[in-house]
Amino acid sequence: MALLEVEGLRTVFPSQEGEVSAVEGASFSLSEGEVLGLVGESGSGKSVTAFSLMRLVQAPGRIAAGSVRFEGRDLLSLDEREMRKLRGRRMSMIFQEPLSSLNPVWTVGQQVMEPMLLHGGVTRREARERALAMLARVGIADAARRFNDYPHQLSGGLRQRVMIALALVCEPKLLIADEPTSALDVTIQAQILELLRDLQRELGMAILMITHDLGVVAEIADRVNVMYAGRIVESAPVETLFRAPAHPYSAGLLQSVPDMGEERERLPTIRGIVPRPGEMPPGCAFAPRCPYADAACTVAPPPVHTLTDDHAAACVRPLGAHG
């Protein structure tokens, strides 16, 4: 059974033109211990998807439709108290900006202990010991000394390690990581990715890795969902996506990353710009930018085309499907 099953998720925000969908009919599942990459550009709805799963969408945004089943329970029908029992204990989340995601007035130790104390079952002493062990586990060298430091006294890399420690201290089954390395330098990014990979294996947890960086996906994901303009346009195992992307958007994205292996005069580009929310074209949202689009693409949102068991694309004529 899947750990997480999302069906037809729709999250909307009010705007002057009425409600606008940030996420439109997202469906995917995540097995235990699996790392799923959720790739998209800014405004694609990938972060809103993550916040929706935790039911932490900020008002006035709201989840308008769909279901989220986690460990067999429908999260969207739980009351807030039940939901709170899951957050931080069964499912956790980390964010892009480690400095702003840590509370500046509490010490690192207090913040790592807090999830355990909130969910009960441990004494302060046990919580302290486990927090110290967790800080050491995420690679903080002198955990005992850092325990009493405040976030502003740490470097960016250490802060993200602290954030990971407090997210994982209750050993959740699912970690939602929202661009956890995007604000970090490339050498620190490599350290954090390696740490996440190790912890994922060790704790047997699933990770939903939200990123705009295909390199991060290549490093860590087992499967990938590509999002564009609020919809999931392609879902594939990571090797498949990099070898044979089926959606023209995925293919364009892969090609427009500069490649250090070959020298090209010009970078292949995706023409045009992402449509603004509220100005979505009636058919496929990518049609105005798609080199292969024709009249059929502008009528209705394209159906999901299943190419193989584990590869699907929301495209009228996915690449490679017709030979």
Partner: protein, 341 residues
């Protein structure tokens, strides 16, 4: 060999730290740029890479004289501009222009696009022959925007379009040098490629010289002719692009290349991550600045500060053990090329 446009010698910039207070005896200074020698040749694209806080942005601003150097010389077209002031400085600034990282903040939100792109001409007191309005439209067209866009305000545009406006503005004065400070880092991947292609087209058309500052080694690989790598205020390696990526000599460059996320899943986890954090530029370590994180550091590295020395054709490196370590090739792509059609 091409003519040298910018020649930098012994350049230093130390920022006094605010809030040191009246009662602190030791004056703290961030050594943002701490002894840099560098030449930029006319018509080339010099990539300047390094992590945040290494001083690459400050170096770019020093060359434009947006900040005043603490020591050293900056010869621009043969003239030392390091200590110019007032009107002479403002005149020199017009020969070099900048493309900024933040396409949102670098355009005054209260000005129309037509005024934004022609403002440098107004400041310089050089009205274009065709009139400001017509000139604004032709500038916009040259960066791939519509002439009708001239009437709008910046917030009506997407990030990529704003960056095009910023580029049009930088070109208004027909500068010899353009310093591009992370020009595509704030943009989405699919938009990045458009802007990079545009910059290359404009370079060919106007025979521009670029100093391209970026933390993204992939982008630099695509656009640069030569690459300089900075660490804690120093240039640690300088080489033609192909040599730098194929045979990096400095352990820091090697680690940087190794840290780039894999281009394809097949390459994942093959490389060793560099440990630790960079030391604070407030108190750079003695000796070689990289020795605290260097896998090859020996006792000598703690004491001796290595100079930038020749290590092959056009290739120089600041490492005491460069010869012993030798070039290490980093697998950057999967053999057999990549996906797509």
């Amino acid at each position: 060999m091409a003519e040298t446009l910018v020649d930098i010698a012994g350049l230093e910039k130390h920022f006094a730290v605010a809030g040191g207070g009246w009662f602190s005896r030791r004056k703290l200074a961030v050594r943002a740029v701490d002894g840099v020698d560098l030449a930029i040749r006319r018509g080339e694209t010099l990539g300047l890479v390094g992590e945040s806080g290494c001083g690459k942005s400050t170096l770019g601003r020093l060359i434009l004289r947006l900040v005043r150097p603490s020591a050293g010389a900056i010869r621009f077209g043969g003239v030392d501009i390091a200590t110019l002031e007032g009107a002479a400085l403002r005149a020199v600034r017009r020969r070099a222009q900048m493309i900024f990282q933040d396409p949102y903040g670098s355009l005054n939100p209260r000005m129309r696009v037509a005024d934004l792109v022609t403002e440098p001409l107004r400041i310089a007191g050089r009205p274009p022959a065709a009139g400001y309005r017509a000139h604004a439209e032709s500038l916009l067209q040259s960066v791939g925007l519509d002439a009708q866009h001239a009437e709008r305000y910046a917030h009506e545009f997407s990030g990529g379009q704003r960056q095009r406006i910023g580029i049009a503005r930088a070109l208004a004065l027909e500068p010899e040098l353009v310093v591009a400070d992370e020009p595509v880092s704030a943009l989405d991947v699919s938009i990045r490629a458009q802007v990079i292609n545009l910059m290359q087209d404009l370079q060919a058309r106007h025979r521009l010289t670029y100093l391209f500052i970026s933390h993204d080694l992939g982008v630099v690989h695509h656009i640069a002719d030569r690459v300089a790598v900075m660490y804690l205020g120093r240039i640690v390696e300088l080489a033609p692009k192909r040599a730098l990526y194929a045979t990096p000599r400095h352990p820091y460059t090697q680690s940087l290349l190794a840290a780039i996320p894999a281009a394809t899943p097949a390459l994942r986890g093959r490389r060793v991550a560099l440990g630790g954090d960079p030391p604070s530029p407030l108190a750079p370590p003695p000796g070689c600045r990289f020795h605290t994180r260097c896998p090859h550091a020996i006792e000598r590295c703690r004491r001796e500060d290595p100079p930038l020395q020749a290590a092959g054709e056009g290739h120089s490196v600041a490492c005491l053990r460069a010869d012993e370590i030798g070039p290490i090739a980093i697998p950057l792509i999967q053999p057999g090329g990549r996906a797509g059609r």
